[in-house]
Symmetry: C2
Subunit: 231 residues, 2 copies
């Protein structure tokens, strides 16, 4: 700071009125920002509900405006583009997924209990999604051959989640709960298959018994991979 | 036939000219019908290619007319509605699936070899579909909560196929190739999961090694279910 530069204190002393105006403005701006963020979050929540029903590509300005009882221009003032909206929805879905599946399982001790909790929480979420639809599954079909930021955001979310599942298996092996020769990637792949089969057979084919089959499939995978002293 | 009714021979004798005209008409009608059927088949083939890329819902008159180098009205003269076109595409996909997966496996002896052939043929098709997309998977997402004839046609196709897979497992058990306590529905569910995981991880996530993981997953399922004297 140069000598000529006035201190913050001297500015407050010299221009008290303008400082009050500035503080008022700041406070109003902060409130407006908070309100804007709350509105944006409410729109994203409504968009997520809509997307699980009609897919990310089914998100329309009109339907979303109707769901939030806002004007179309009001809805889109909060997003730079439809793509931004889609990515916000993916991020929001991932946050909920992370909270309900991942963080909830982190409360369990590492090793087999955590792997079991991750699967149980995932199953619970998919069970709810059988009614509502899962954007990790519908989005994969919508964007599988459409490169771009929406596909990237979706793939990154799923990959982060699968990596977390994989890490929990690696830890369970390191703890000695799983056999030393377990192929973690293989085990995670087979578990992913059970979740996808459950979603497909229950949601699309309406086949009874799918939840029990997914659970039994998981037990079968564990039986093959659990260390001999654990079973 | 009543006595008053003239025989076919007497008709030919009495009205030879009109009979010739009628035969000509019939022949022309038959040729026109054949040509119409060929054109329809060509449109369905083009529609199937398009549907694997953009989904059944992505089928548009314009894109299909362009692909077949026909007029829009020409394309739709062959189908009563867009729904009819979608159902024709599903039936065509199922026919090809049946030929390449099901009938090809029927050449193998019943029992374990046929179950293995069904899985191997299915894998081969999914491996091709990783590039092109599979309408049994994308269609399930598109129509999972949209009741109607297209959803019904799609679900019926998939169910017919899963029932065939199931039947082959029942036969393998009856032959003594699989353990007596094998739960066929469970085994079919787990196999379906491997196929879905392969499609998801290879097509959407571009993960290398997915084909090998699906194959190894199948070996793991067999190892658990094969009769002791077979392994």
């Amino acid at each position: 700071m140069s000598i000529a530069s006035p201190s913050a204190k001297s500015i407050r002393k010299v221009r008290p009125a303008s400082a009050r105006v500035s503080a008022d403005r700041e406070s109003r701006a902060r409130r407006a920002l908070q309100k804007g963020q709350q509105t944006k979050l409410a729109i994203v929540d409504a968009a997520l509900v809509l997307a699980t029903q009609v897919g990310l590509e089914g998100l329309s300005i009109g339907a979303l405006a109707e769901a939030t009882q806002m004007s179309k221009s009001g809805v889109f003032a909060h997003f730079g583009s439809r793509e931004d909206l889609q990515i916000s929805v993916i991020n929001q879905y991932f946050s909920l997924f992370e909270r309900d599946v991942f963080y909830a399982a982190m409360e369990k001790p590492r090793g087999l209990p955590r792997v079991q909790a991750l699967f149980a929480n995932w199953m619970k979420l998919v069970d709810e999604d059988i009614q509502a639809g899962c954007i990790f599954i519908s989005g994969a079909v919508e964007f599988d051959d459409r490169p771009g930021p929406v596909r990237d955001a979706l793939a990154a979310s799923v990959q982060t989640w699968l990596a977390a599942m994989n890490r929990s298996i690696v830890l369970a092996k390191a703890c000695g709960h799983l056999r030393a020769d377990v192929d973690e990637e293989q085990m995670a792949f087979e578990i992913h298959g059970l979740i996808l089969a459950l979603h497909y057979e229950a949601r699309f084919l309406h086949r009874p018994g799918s939840v029990a089959r997914a659970n039994r499939g998981f037990e079968n995978i564990l039986a093959r991979n659990v260390a001999p002293n654990q079973s």
